[in-house]
C-alpha cells in the first residue's frame, strides 16, 4: 500500500486519513503538511488510522505534536481506527490520557462536539 495522507471536512471537523506506514521518513513530511492545514482550516480534528499498517515512535511524535498545536487554539484531536499493535503502543505511551479514542469515525465526530 502506498504511504499517503489525505483529508476531508465534515461539518466542523477535519478528518485526516493515513494510508500505509508512518515512520521516521514520512512523519516529518506529514508534520509539515498538517501544521499548515490546521493553520488554514478551523475545526476539531479526527485522525483515522483504519488504513494504516504500521506506526513507529515518529508517528506517535507526530500525533503528540499536532495535539499540542491544536490544544493551543482550544481545538480537540480524536483518534480512531488503530490496529491492535498500534493501539497497544498508543496506550503504552499514555496518549489516551490526553486525547480520546473512538471505535468509529461517527463516534469520533459525535464525541468531539461537546
Amino acid at each position: 500500500m502506498e504511504n499517503k495522507m489525505n483529508y476531508e471536512t465534515n461539518h466542523d471537523h477535519i478528518i485526516v486519513k493515513f494510508y500505509g506506514e508512518i515512520d521516521c521518513v514520512n512523519a516529518p513530511y506529514y508534520r509539515h503538511q498538517l501544521s499548515h492545514l490546521f493553520e488554514e482550516k478551523e475545526g476539531n480534528v479526527v485522525f483515522d488510522f483504519s488504513n494504516t499498517t504500521f506506526i513507529d515512535s515518529s508517528g506517535i511524535g507526530l500525533v503528540i505534536g499536532r495535539y499540542n498545536q491544536l490544544k493551543f487554539d482550544n481545538r480537540t484531536l480524536s483518534l480512531t481506527g488503530l490496529n491492535k499493535v498500534s493501539y497497544h503502543l498508543f496506550e503504552l505511551t499514555g496518549l489516551f490520557q490526553i486525547m480520546p479514542y473512538y471505535s468509529t469515525i461517527n463516534e469520533a465526530l459525535q464525541g468531539g462536539k461537546e
Partner: protein, 144 residues
C-alpha cells in the same frame, strides 16, 4: 536448525524502512501472524532509528549492523552501532510522559521495544557504541 542473517547499512533514516523489510523477509518462513509481524517490524524500527538518530546523529558515513537468528521459533535480533553511546541508560528506559508531551520526537523507542519484545539487553559505552539484543518467541504456524 539455527538460521542466521546479517546486514550492514548506512546511517540514513531511509534505512529504517530497509531494515524493517529485511527482518520481515527473514521471519516470513515462520508464517508469523500479522500482529507478530507488526511487532517485530516495530522493534526493529525503534532499534535502528535509535542507532541512526541518536548513535550516529544521522551521519551517513557510519554503519549500522543488524543480525538475527531463528532457533526453535525464538527470534533474536541484534542491532549495533559504533556511535556515541548512551550516557545514562536508566534515563533511556523510562517512559517519561511529561517530557514526552512537549517533544515532537517521542523518544519512546526503548520502552516500546521493552513492551513488544520478550527481552531486551542494552550494552552501551560512551563513544564506543551501543548494542541492543532483543528476543521474541514466535509461534511456528507451519503444519507438519
Amino acid at each position: 536448525m539455527k538460521q542466521t542473517m546479517e546486514v550492514t547499512f548506512n546511517a540514513v533514516i531511509e534505512n529504517e524502512n530497509f531494515a524493517r523489510s529485511v527482518i520481515a523477509a527473514f521471519i516470513t518462513r515462520l508464517d508469523p501472524t500479522i500482529d507478530e509481524m507488526v511487532e517485530v517490524k516495530t522493534i526493529v524500527a525503534e532499534a535502528v532509528s535509535n542507532a541512526i538518530i541518536h548513535g550516529y546523529e544521522k551521519n551517513p558515513e557510519c554503519q549500522v549492523v543488524m543480525r538475527a537468528t531463528i532457533e526453535d521459533g525464538l527470534l533474536t535480533i541484534i542491532v549495533q552501532d559504533y556511535g556515541k553511546g548512551i550516557e545514562d541508560l536508566s534515563k533511556a528506559k523510562v517512559p517519561f510522559f511529561s517530557s514526552l508531551a512537549s517533544l515532537e520526537h517521542a523518544g519512546m523507542g526503548i520502552p516500546i521495544i521493552e513492551s513488544l519484545a520478550d527481552s531486551l539487553d542494552i550494552i552501551s559505552e560512551v563513544n564506543i557504541g551501543t548494542k541492543l539484543i532483543m528476543t521474541k518467541q514466535l509461534e511456528d504456524h507451519h503444519i507438519g
